[in-house]
């Protein structure tokens, strides 16, 4: 196990070795400052787990906006493949009379549209959409050919706004842009910041209002968080963007505090809202009982209200007591087991906390599309070199908003809060919290997954659908950590129990001991044949 990294890298050709060696770390004892290469191009042909820019924009960030009619502009495939695949749950609420989550809209371009341009078809598609669904907001997401054939989706969006008096946003999130989904997240963040956030005036009802950024409500995670918040008396204005609505996001800038779950996909908005509106953000984690408690206490500390602090402590005491015996039961089963986690850009960190609570060790952790700050912490940002691929993704600069900018704390007060252990306006990254000898992989691929499992033999591997079946076929339990295998929620207090049960279920399924049939090696029954006669 100690040299799993070397064993794996040796199998690569010199060229691939040169590239991959910086993306693969095996942590030494006490090494909290290990550096890793990240957010660079994937190597062709090695079966990367990464998706594309369109997937990050449409699939992850804007797709879950329930009252937005999202049209995929392009041939049919991309629209179809991003239709209902993320398990981001949504229900209609007071903000939305329409819920488009079960729908897939595509301009379904044909060969002639590629040759002669597809703008006209897109505009006609929008007209049909208006007639049929009359949404308040339309978003257009571009697929690969759009940028190449010169269709201007932004111009179409502007014309749509003028013609129908609704909001319309065009995203140039062609699949080939950037190096992974990450570029798409950034493009989507920019669009929401530019055109949506700050255009509403629905004021919070309480003085403790928050947006939960980077919570996509997979398997109902956001709802479990909302349940806890409600008990504590914390008002959730928006989940970004699980179960979110265009209508709600418009007034997101009126929140008192931003909480960041998935740092990777939404830190841009957190930062921009801090600059433009003066809203602080706290890096929270609601995966794991201890992590949830800490996040709640951090929020209470930030608001610095005796009544709120008291309520938070009461809720924590009550919730923890409720799940205690369940958690102890699962811990007794899982204690000492090991795990590997490959996820998108934040869960590999989040779930280590929960696994640890169950007595498990995380020995492999990797991300598809994280940046160095997700591994090493935001302090590294000034040192990150921009390359050609990243430059292609627009970075927007926002200024203080005259009307809404309001600082809650002075710089000194913020420094005090930080030294009290709150991750305020910053994030420390995953690597500093990992154990010695564990392996960290950036932009993991199928080959590396297989090899690491072979050499490090974790009891369970948490990953996505693309790896799931090869992991299982190779004899290791697996849970999907992107979509939770139709389970969930995994967040908060109740989610922790659901997760513990699912992990125990996977490791202890009766199939594992049956893989090798008993009759293959030795006879099942012993005895002598009686002589007939």
């Amino acid at each position: 196990m100690a040299n799993s990294r070397e064993t794996l890298l040796e199998k690569y050709s010199a060229k691939v070795y040169k590239n991959r060696k910086d993306h693969l770390l095996q942590l030494a004892e006490g090494d909290k400052n290990a550096a890793i290469a990240a957010n660079t191009r994937a190597i062709p042909g090695v079966m990367t787990a990464r998706g594309c820019c369109y997937a990050g924009c449409k699939g992850v960030v804007v797709g879950p906006l329930k009252d937005v009619l999202v049209i995929t502009h392009g041939p049919i495939g991309c629209g179809f493949y991003s239709w209902g695949t993320r398990r981001n749950k949504a229900k209609t609420d007071e903000n939305t009379d329409k819920n488009f989550i079960p729908y897939c809209f595509s301009s379904d371009m044909q060969e002639s549209n590629i040759v002669f341009g597809g703008e006209k078809k897109l505009e006609q598609a929008i007209e049909e959409a208006m007639e049929l669904f009359s949404p308040k907001c339309i978003m257009i997401c571009s697929t690969c050919p759009i940028g190449l054939i010169g269709d201007d989706v932004q111009a179409v969006a502007r014309r749509t706004e003028a013609k129908y008096g609704i909001a319309a946003i065009g995203y140039s999130c062609e699949g080939y842009k950037g190096v992974s989904q990450s570029g798409g997240h950034h493009i989507a963040n920019n669009g929401l910041m530019r055109y949506v956030i700050g255009t509403g005036d629905k004021k919070p009802k309480t003085k403790f209002s928050v947006n939960v950024l980077g919570e996509y409500n997979i398997g109902g995670d956001g709802w479990e968080e909302e349940r806890i918040f409600k008990r504590c008396g914390i008002e959730v204005l928006n989940l970004f963007t699980g179960d979110a609505s265009y209508e709600g996001l418009k007034s997101a800038h009126l929140a008192h505090l931003n909480l960041v779950m998935c740092h990777r996909s939404i830190n841009y908005i957190a930062e921009m809202m801090k600059t433009k509106y003066g809203i602080d953000w706290i890096k929270v984690n609601f995966i794991g009982v201890e992590a949830t408690c800490k996040s709640l206490r951090d929020i209470a500390k930030y608001f610095n209200d005796a009544e709120l602090t008291k309520r938070v402590e009461e809720v924590i005491a009550d919730e923890v007591a409720t799940i205690k015996s369940d958690m102890e039961h699962y811990k007794s089963k899982l204690n000492g087991k090991t795990a590997g986690i490959f996820s998108g850009g934040s869960r590999s960190h989040h779930y280590q906390v929960l696994l640890q609570e169950l007595g498990m060790k995380t020995i492999i952790a990797g991300y598809e599309f994280a940046h160095r700050d997700d591994y090493e912490g935001r302090d590294i940002i000034p040192q990150i070199k921009e390359d050609a691929d990243n430059k292609n993704i627009e970075s927007i600069v926002v200024a203080k908003d005259d009307k809404f900018y309001k600082e809650t704390y002075t710089e000194e007060q913020i420094a005090n809060l930080k030294s009290a252990g709150i991750e305020l306006d910053t994030y420390g990254g995953m690597i500093p919290e990992m154990i010695a000898e564990s392996v960290v992989v950036d932009d993991y691929n199928h080959f590396e997954t297989d090899e690491l499992i072979k050499s490090m033999k974790p009891d369970i591997f948490l990953s996505g659908i693309k790896d799931k079946y090869s992991i299982q076929k190779a004899g290791t339990a697996s849970r999907q950590i992107h979509s939770y295998d139709y389970s969930g929620p995994y967040s908060g207090f109740r989610g922790a129990v659901t997760f513990a049960r699912d992990v125990a279920m996977a490791i202890f399924t009766n199939a594992w001991p049956l893989v090798t049939p008993p009759w293959k090696n030795k006879p099942m029954l012993t005895g002598k044949l009686k002589e007939v006669g």
Binding site: F80, D389, G464, K466, K473, V515
Partner: protein
């Protein structure tokens, strides 16, 4: 929809091409394009097959789109060989590679210069070039085209299938063996996409059709291609014939006895023979057909998917006496209709069905519409039908790619006798489950709870519009239907539909849940409420989902209440059956003409089936649907009233014909209505037909059909506790004021409703009260256009019209103050003004007494 695909019933070419390559031994597929394509396709295939799906990507970035993807592709090929050591690599293009014009053939040539041990097949599969079905065949054809052929005659039979499940592929192989056929199957996905868990796991799939076998296809004696939809450009069989002279037979997928018998005949001719086991399997299938015929015959099936799948399932349905009401594919495949026409005709006739709908290039919004219109009760296809299934409560048999909400996609069976039985059993069981789940309740409702399901006669007797003696009964119109699908020239769309609701008032639209809430509230305060109507503000049927949901919710709450709707009739034929099922017992259809040339003058346009029609064409479509719809209603035992707006110089000479036609179609009564010009509408300047003329018309038409003349009584009571939802028939056809011997009516300007506290000019609504001097009774509130004092305001006349119109049945207005001009104008219209600052009830009682004194005084 022509340009917007709403919930696609198709995927892209690379999906099919990759799937086919999984059936080649030792093959690793790669997508040349941006890496998202590989990721999305891996994700979708893995979910369906529960198998690892390795698809490499050349991971093109922005740089590649500028300088071409050659470097990435060559690098990718090299890395794949190092990591997987495959025998074959299939490179499929994507939208991106094709749009930038990659010459993959040339790149592959370059690759061969450095490497000769691995076979590379390139497949041109742009995402915009077709669906997964085309991608599948293009890949097979490319494999054959790029293979070194072995033309040595080998006496084997080539087998080419469209995309079928691994389980069906396994069956096909064992069946061919059982028939004694020596075959080469391409592609063979049976093990690669449905692998076992064993001690050792190999990353590279080791099953599938080998390169040697593929080469030998050139020397086969026959090709059987299970597709009716391939053409000379993409048919693998055609290629083998053209290039190597291998003859071919094209068959549809072998489902059902007819499909299987055809296949067995062909194979027998080719030297095979059905074994005893095959004969027994056939016998079992026929046995099951007989056993489940009565269940199968209940099924009205909607089939969707790839064309060959659809054909196989439609024929299976027909063979088993189920009616395939809808056959749809997302592919552009005009041939589908032609393929199905003859086979389904007998089935259609046998079931007395009007239509078997065949759609190509369709999406799930079109399929859903078809399911509703054609009354489908079973869906067969992929799991993408689950949304329709849930929404319309129709069971779905999942047996085509992709299946994402169930497991076992790799094990679905539709082929052969036992595969057909899988479908047949599921279909029959779905029908039985429906019966099992509902028939007790139905019987109970029918025989033991007569009081809850009221008879039509009872309902009519208690319906304030239909029953003459029903004046004590109240009704509520719930405004849940905002959209309208026609434009009448007398109607101004900014406001409600004039026919069915008061003009000049844009009422709040209620959601079905809110409508239920309003009903519950009203019912609690008004036990006499016996009728719920949906009369707009648009058209009840143009918003059928909303209307239906409202009725369903209210029916759950109240078993006894009567349901009625008002409609222009355009969608009646579509929904007549549903209305019956929703227990709607009364329908009002507004039909202003039975001659399209007259209708053309009345209707500006008619929107039907996604198209807008104008002039005679539009009027004719509307009329045809009205006539068919009214007939269907009367046949279904639904009471139908025909409203007819009398338009001077346009249809006033034609009313007699309208009522005659209504009578012939079985309508219950007609309501000849006065036209009230709405400012801004096309008929704004049209002269009004007088009350007298209306009365004469009614008398004449009374010879044809029962006339509605009793609006007056209805109005006072039905409107008694309702505010804005009063439909026009009650309002406009009774301009007469209540007689002096009865109640007198007053319009009160009040903000709170307690005290007469508003200036006449400030009021944007009036509280209408009735009094017989002993009691003062609140009737309703009526909105009017707000008065404006601005110098540029052009609304004054409109305000006046709206006020006069709203309170024309009142004897006096009660307000705190009123200006001299308005007072004068009111007086011209026979309404006096009383200024007071009193409690409303007191003021009304006083006014009633005063009025009587005045009347008597002047008499």
């Amino acid at each position: 929809m022509l340009n917007l695909n709403v919930n696609p019933c198709k995927m892209c070419m690379p999906m099919g091409a990759i799937s086919a390559l999984w059936g080649v031994k030792g093959c690793m597929p790669m997508l040349h394009g941006s890496q998202g394509c590989a990721t999305y396709i891996r994700r979708h295939m893995s979910t369906h097959y529960s198998e690892p799906i390795d698809i490499a990507s050349s991971s093109l970035t922005e740089e590649g789109t500028v300088f071409g993807g050659e470097a990435n592709l060559l690098k990718g090929l090299k890395n794949m060989i190092e990591l997987y050591n495959p025998e074959v690599i299939g490179v499929c293009t994507t939208c991106l590679a094709e749009t930038i014009g990659e010459d993959v053939g040339a790149i592959v040539k370059k690759f061969y210069e450095q490497n000769s041990t691995v076979k590379v097949i390139n497949v041109a599969s742009p995402g915009y070039g077709g669906t997964q079905n085309e991608g599948w065949f293009v890949a097979i054809r490319s494999i054959l085209e790029q293979m070194e052929p072995n033309k040595q005659p080998n006496g084997k039979i080539n087998i080419i299938t469209p995309m079928i499940s691994p389980a069906d592929t396994r069956w096909l192989k064992s069946f061919l063996k059982e028939m004694g056929i020596d075959y080469i199957l391409l592609p063979d996905i049976s093990d690669n996409l449905d692998g076992a868990t064993e001690k050792h796991y190999e990353r590279l799939k080791t099953d599938g059709t080998s390169i040697t076998d593929i080469a030998a296809m050139a020397g086969a004696k026959l090709t059987i291609e299970f597709s009716e939809f391939t053409d000379e450009k993409n048919s693998p069989a055609e290629y083998l014939k053209e290039t190597y002279g291998v003859p071919y037979v094209k068959l549809s997928l072998p489902s059902g006895a007819s499909g299987m018998d055809k296949l067995i005949s062909v194979l027998t001719e080719a030297g095979g023979a059905p074994s005893d086991e095959i004969k027994k399997a056939r016998g079992r299938y026929i046995d099951a057909m007989i056993d489940s015929h009565k269940h199968s015959a209940q099924a009205r099936v909607a089939v969707f998917g790839d064309p060959d799948f659809v054909v196989a399932m439609v024929w299976l349905c027909c063979e088993n006496g189920a009616l395939p009401v809808l056959a749809a594919t997302g592919s552009i495949s005009p041939k589908l209709k032609e393929m199905l026409a003859n086979e389904t005709e007998d089935c259609r006739k046998f079931h007395f069905a009007e239509e078997i709908r065949v759609l190509d290039d369709s999406d799930f919004s079109a399929i859903e519409k078809g399911c509703v219109e054609l009354g489908a009760n079973l869906l067969i296809g992929s799991s993408d039908g689950r949304r329709i299934s849930r929404k319309l409560n129709i069971p779905l048999i999942r047996c085509a790619f992709p299946i994402h909400d169930y497991i076992g996609g790799q094990r679905t069976r539709i082929l052969g006798f036992d595969g057909s039985l899988c479908i047949l059993d599921q279909a029959a069981n779905a029908m039985m489950e429906k019966t099992e789940g509902s028939f007790r309740e139905e019987l109970h409702e029918k025989f033991y709870k007569p009081q809850t399901a009221k008879k039509a006669a009872d309902k009519t007797a208690t319906h304030p519009c239909f029953g003459e003696q029903a004046c004590q009964n109240a009704r509520v119109h719930l405004p849940v239907a905002p959209k309208c699908n026609i434009q009448c020239n007398y109607c101004l769309r900014n406001y409600d539909c004039m026919n069915e609701s008061r003009p000049g008032v844009t009422s709040k639209i209620l959601s079905p849940a809110e409508a239920l809430e309003r009903y519950i509230k009203l019912k609690a305060n008004m036990p006499s409420l016996t009728v719920v109507g949906i009369a707009g503000p648009g058209d009840a049927l143009a918003n059928f989902d909303k209307s239906a949901e409202t009725f369903r919710l209210i029916r759950e709450y109240d078993q006894g209440v009567t349901f009625c709707i008002a409609t222009n009739g355009l969608l009646l034929p579509q929904y007549a059956q549903e209305l019956k099922e929703l227990d709607v017992s009364h329908v009002t259809v507004t039909m202003n003409a039975v001659d399209p040339s007259i209708g053309a003058k009345i209707y500006k346009y008619v929107q039907y089936m996604g198209k807008t029609y104008t002039g005679i064409e539009g009027a004719a479509i509307l009329l045809a649907n009205q006539l068919a719809g009214i007939k269907m209603l009367s046949e279904a035992g639904i009471m139908c009233k025909v409203n007819c707006v009398t338009l001077k110089g346009i249809n006033d000479h034609h009313i007699y014909e309208v009522t005659q036609m209504a009578a012939n179609l079985g309508a219950f009564m007609t309501n000849i209505m006065q036209h009230l010009p709405v400012k801004g509408s096309a008929f704004e300047g049209l002269e009004r037909v007088t009350n007298k003329e209306i009365a004469v018309l009614r008398e004449q038409c009374g010879a044809n059909i029962k006339q509605m003349t009793h609006c007056r009584q209805c109005r006072s009571d039905a409107a008694g506790t309702l505010d804005r939802d009063v439909s026009i028939e009650f309002r406009e056809s009774v301009p007469e004021k209540p007689g002096p011997e009865k109640f007198r009516r007053f319009a009160v300007a009040t903000q709170t409703g307690a005290v007469v506290d508003m200036h006449f000019g400030q009021a944007d609504e009036f509280y209408i009260y009735e009094s017989d001097e002993k009691n003062a009774r609140f009737v309703e509130t009526r909105k009017v256009i707000k008065y404006c004092n601005g110098p540029q305001c052009e609304n004054k006349e409109e305000r006046w019209n709206s006020v006069i119109h709203a309170i024309s049945d009142c004897e006096a207005v009660l307000a705190v103050r009123i200006g001299p001009t308005p007072e004068k104008r009111l007086k011209e219209n026979g309404i006096s003004a009383i200024t007071t600052y009193e409690r409303v009830e007191t003021a009304v009682l006083q006014a009633a007494k005063e009025k009587r004194r005045n009347t008597h005084g002047t008499a």
